[in-house]
């Protein structure tokens, strides 16, 4: 890679949009090229200065009461919409909708959508290969705490669970890394484990009711794919998937040991969250949100 190539890719390099191999080529070039190092540094400083200037520009800041006004407006709209939905003439329609929805949900739970299930398994395998094994994700992993603040507070559970070292009848499990990463359109909380000399990915993702997996704390083994075993556990809101080249039975056993406490803690997170949110007056019906 020459100076011209590096200059062409410099901004994508800084934006972490390049493949790991290309990043390495640029880093090798920068080791020996003062001119390109200076150029990259200037671009980095420019981006950072621009971002800071934008976020602290006084003329772009909202006035203090804007957030309060916005929240009040949203709550009023949601309440009004909720009340109008509750007029007597609509009770029959609502009852019919509930019966229909219950039927559809039951059908989904009985049949389990193989397509959604397959998507989750495919993403989990992709993340395991590209993050845990080859470290070539398009977007760089981020700390779990940051991901918990930005995306889903449940990722915080993975900061301490599973523990750094876990003993199992077949040998110790050691945590190599904890972070959040994205593969395709799906974000994961990712704990990379070492077990019997193999790398195992423990991936947690929000299922949003769309994984097609029945809610169950039991480890469910899936068909081996591309030489990798996959085992999943599903809470009401999150799926936990283990991927490794261990045997299916071995991985299922491991999943029961390391994931069960995690599922229990996830249950705790959800109950706490439900208790917190139930106390808030904001009202929004699930049906309204689908209009």
């Amino acid at each position: 890679m020459n100076c011209r190539d590096v200059r062409d890719l410099a901004d994508s390099f800084l934006g972490e949009e390049l493949l790991t191999e290309t990043n390495h080529e640029i880093l090798w070039h920068l080791d020996t090229c003062l001119s390109c190092r200076t150029d990259i540094d200037v671009r980095r400083r420019l981006r950072s200065a621009l971002r800071n200037a934008f976020h602290r520009a006084p003329e772009l800041q909202p006035v203090g009461e804007f957030a309060d006004r916005l929240r009040d407006h949203l709550r009023q709209t949601a309440r009004h919409s909720h009340r109008s939905r509750m007029v007597p003439g609509r009770w029959l329609t609502l009852a019919a909708s509930v019966v229909l929805a219950a039927g559809v949900i039951t059908a989904i739970l009985i049949n389990r959508s193989p397509a959604a299930d397959d998507t989750l398994v495919r993403d989990a395998i992709g993340d395991h290969r590209n993050c845990a094994l080859k470290y070539r994700l398009v977007r760089m992993p981020m700390p779990l705490e940051e991901a918990a603040q930005e995306f889903d507070s449940a990722y915080r559970v993975l900061l301490t669970a599973p523990r750094d070292d876990v003993s199992t009848p077949n040998g110790p499990v050691h945590v190599l890394e904890r972070h959040s990463c994205a593969f395709g359109a799906r974000r994961f909380g990712h704990v990379i484990l070492q077990y019997r000399g193999r790398v195992v990915s423990l991936l947690m993702t929000a299922n949003g009711g769309a994984t097609g997996l029945a809610a169950s704390a039991d480890a469910i083994p899936h068909a081996i794919r591309d030489g990798l075993s996959i085992v999943s556990l599903n809470s009401s809101r999150h799926a936990i998937v283990l991927v490794s080249d261990l045997g299916n039975a071995e991985l299922t056993e491991l999943a029961q040991t390391v994931s069960l406490p995690l599922v229990q803690r996830l249950g705790g997170v959800m109950h706490n969250s439900e208790r917190e949110t139930a106390a808030l007056p904001f009202v929004l019906t699930r049906n309204e949100s689908r209009e």
Partner: protein, 184 residues
């Protein structure tokens, strides 16, 4: 009993919306303010963004980038308002036309002030401002920016390349007339 369960579900959904979405209001406002240049219009845009987000919150997938999702909604509202006001920036292939105006990338001045930076950004064509705001300031990925702007990912990349180069040219031009600015 069923009603209680329903209300509990409602309350949870609403609180989830507040928890996920409202923390981004400040960032959304800054973006809206940049494009609208008017506080009342910017507040309208953010409010409309939030209302659309509320209506389509069922489409938001927990665990994905909420800020990118909201920015996409806001960007489309701004774009629609711009078109309604008859100041559409959609022209036939602006990239090719503007490409000739960026012959080289000069060195950027040191000691950049906020005014110099934002003034230079403001002088860029809007199509360049948009990608720089989304990718460099809001830190959206190329893919997320492409979805927000409804343009191909390759166009995002080429506009970014040209926009950043033109921004550096603007900074040099502004810097030479700015006392105390020293070229690298």
């Amino acid at each position: 009993m069923a009603k209680q369960a329903d209300l509990r579900e409602d309350s949870d959904g609403g609180a989830t919306f507040e928890r996920e979405v409202l923390p981004h209001a400040g960032r959304l406002f800054r973006l809206a303010m940049w494009f609208e240049r008017n506080r009342a219009d910017a507040e309208d845009v953010v409010q409309e963004t939030m209302m659309q987000a509320l209506r389509s919150f069922h489409r938001f997938q927990p665990g994905t980038n909420c800020r990118a999702w909201l920015t996409t909604i806001l960007q489309r509202i701004v774009s629609n308002r711009r078109r309604a006001k008859g100041r559409s920036i959609v022209v036939s292939d602006p990239d090719d036309r503007i490409a000739d105006a960026v012959p080289f990338v000069p060195p950027v001045p040191q000691d950049l002030t906020d005014e110099l930076l934002l003034g230079s950004l403001r002088r860029l064509p809007t199509v360049f401002q948009e990608v720089i705001l989304l990718c460099d300031i809001e830190e959206l990925s190329y893919k997320e920016a492409a979805e927000a702007l409804r343009i191909p990912i390759g166009t995002v990349m080429s506009r970014l390349h040209r926009g950043r180069a033109q921004l550096r040219s603007e900074l040099v031009a502004a810097g030479t007339s700015h006392e105390g600015v020293e070229a690298l």
